[in-house]
């Protein structure tokens, strides 16, 4: 059974977003970290950077491979998880909690509705063979 919290929204690239007022917290899903394997490096944008929906905002590397991170929503980065460069393994251990990556102040709150629901994301993961 895939770990897909119901209160989050998702992208088809396996990022999650959590609405916090006019901001959204962003990370990668349990399925994504499982597929990547041991995460050893996370490259995040700086606070103040602009990110665009479904454009890359950073990079996550596992022992085996490098993957782009896609922003679920458009806006300005107002917070980054400064622990990740030092402890990238928390992305594996706690992808929805301590493994969060950035907080984005939404430029267009309506974009939230374009993201996948937990139910839809579960179907996507199931179709990917899990």
């Amino acid at each position: 059974m895939a770990n897909v919290p119901a209160d989050l929204r998702y992208t088809k690239e396996h990022e999650w977003a959590k609405l916090e007022g006019d901001k959204a917290r962003v990370g990668i899903t349990a399925f994504a970290q499982e597929q990547l394997g041991d995460v050893v490096f996370v490259e995040l944008p700086k606070v103040g950077a602009k990110v665009s929906a479904m454009k890359t905002f950073g990079v996550v590397e596992s022992v085996k491979a490098v993957s782009d991170l896609f922003a679920p929503l458009t806006g300005e980065v107002v917070e980054i998880n400064a622990e990740l460069p030092k402890k990238p393994e928390v992305v594996n251990a706690d992808p929805y909690g301590k493994g969060w990556m950035i907080v984005v102040k939404l430029a267009n709150p309506k974009e939230w509705e374009t993201l996948m629901s937990a139910a839809d994301y579960e179907k996507l993961v199931a179709a990917a063979g899990h």
Binding site: G37, D38, V40, F41, V66
Partner: protein, 370 residues
């Protein structure tokens, strides 16, 4: 028109891996386990206890007859005439132009009987090569019927000895004996690709699953784990062992790759000898070096190396080293910059990241040398 990719080949243990929860990936045309629990955990298990690898995807060719030694000497770069029965030798197949067809281990099974173990992705190419250029001997491709397991780590010797019907503790590094392990007839070879002590066990494909199960069961008290190709890669990288297709290929000279020690021109002619000797006389312009990244940034195959803004080399392998907990890699660097300590930059996604040429192996080898 669309082309259907060839179906992935399977080792005799493919279903065992799936049942054990392995993540399977295509590798060189094979459906192989890349990891079971996690690359870092598996890596540490091999360095601290014992790990079991299914490497049955590797190819094995046997060659026998009065012309066997002559055929082997023509196609390989090392001097096979120095091999005693029961001994193993690291060697290369080379092109006339001096590049590398493949790297291999050569076994002298009996007086006029040798075995070559070659890389999985090169089996077809190598088979064509040795049968075309190694005429005058009886070649047999036994890849399909030969299974191969690696048992590696400080507790490997104890485990194999408990299951063996022969004294394996007396087998020196790069030697082998024939004997039973858990009742399965094996070539028990003190070799490996990890820098740990241990064995590679060649066994009939149809008996491989019972051998695997006996080792997993017998190694429980040692903390044995199955190890995937992911950890196999990080383990070999810490030793700066070359991986064909990454660090060596048809464009690289053995001398650039630091493999001059397996090129023996004094033995007589062999394919590639003249071209390699030309390189030796002229001196190499680039060398395969190991490097450490200053920060956590992974250099990958194909990334550029630069010094003071000028391009000076290219990365061939790179990963996170679980033993050192830092990022390491290998690459071809301009020869004058090759000494350990040289500072350079690796271009990672458009940004220069500092690196330094390291002494290698990155981690001391614990393979039994005597």
């Amino acid at each position: 028109m669309t082309q259907t990719p060839a179906p992935l080949k399977r080792t005799p243990l493919r279903d065992v891996h799936v049942k054990a929860g392995a993540k399977m990936v295509p590798f060189g045309g094979w459906d192989m386990p890349v990891q079971y629990t996690g690359i870092i955990e598996e890596h540490r298990c091999v360095r601290s206890a014992v790990g079991l690898f299914d490497i049955s995807h590797m190819g094995e060719f046997e060659v026998r007859g009065p012309g066997a030694l002559g055929a082997v000497q023509r196609v390989t770069s090392n001097d096979a005439s120095t091999l005693a029965t029961g001994q193993v030798q690291y060697s290369l197949l080379c092109y006339p132009e001096g590049g590398i067809v493949d790297d291999l281990t050569l076994y002298r099974l009996a007086d006029q009987h040798y075995m070559l173990t070659v890389n999985a992705s090169n089996i077809d190419k190598d088979w064509e090569w040795v049968t075309e250029h190694g005429k005058g001997a009886d070649w047999k491709n036994v890849s399909a019927e030969t299974g191969l397991l690696a048992v590696q780590g400080p507790k490997a010797e104890g485990l194999v000895q408990r299951l063996a019907d022969t004294d394996v503790t007396r087998v020196p590094y790069y030697h082998f004996v024939k004997g039973g392990v858990a009742g399965v007839p094996c070539v028990i070879s003190r070799t490996g690709y990890t820098g740990e002590d241990g064995f590679e066990l060649y066994a009939p494909a149809e008996r491989l699953e019972s051998l695997w199960n006996a080792l997993m069961e017998g190694g429980k008290s040692d903390g044995i784990q199955p190890i995937g190709l992911g950890a196999r890669d990080t383990l070999r990288l810490e030793m700066k062992f070359a991986l064909y297709g990454n660090d060596i290929d048809e464009t690289t000279s053995p001398l650039e790759a630091g493999l001059g020690w397996v090129v023996k021109p004094a033995k007589g002619d062999f394919i590639g000898r003249a071209a390699i000797e030309k390189v030796r006389a002229a001196g190499v312009t680039r060398k395969l070096v190991g490097f450490e990244m200053a920060e956590r940034a992974v250099a990958r195959h194909g990334y550029r190396m630069s010094k003071d803004g000028a391009e000076v080399g290219v990365v061939t392998s790179g990963s996170f080293s679980p033993s050192l907990e830092r990022c390491i890699g290998m690459g071809y660097l301009r020869a004058d910059l090759a000494p350990a300590g040289t500072e350079l930059d690796v271009d990672i996604r458009g940004q220069a990241h500092r690196a330094r040429v390291a002494k290698t192996p990155f981690v001391p080898s614990k393979a039994k040398k005597s």
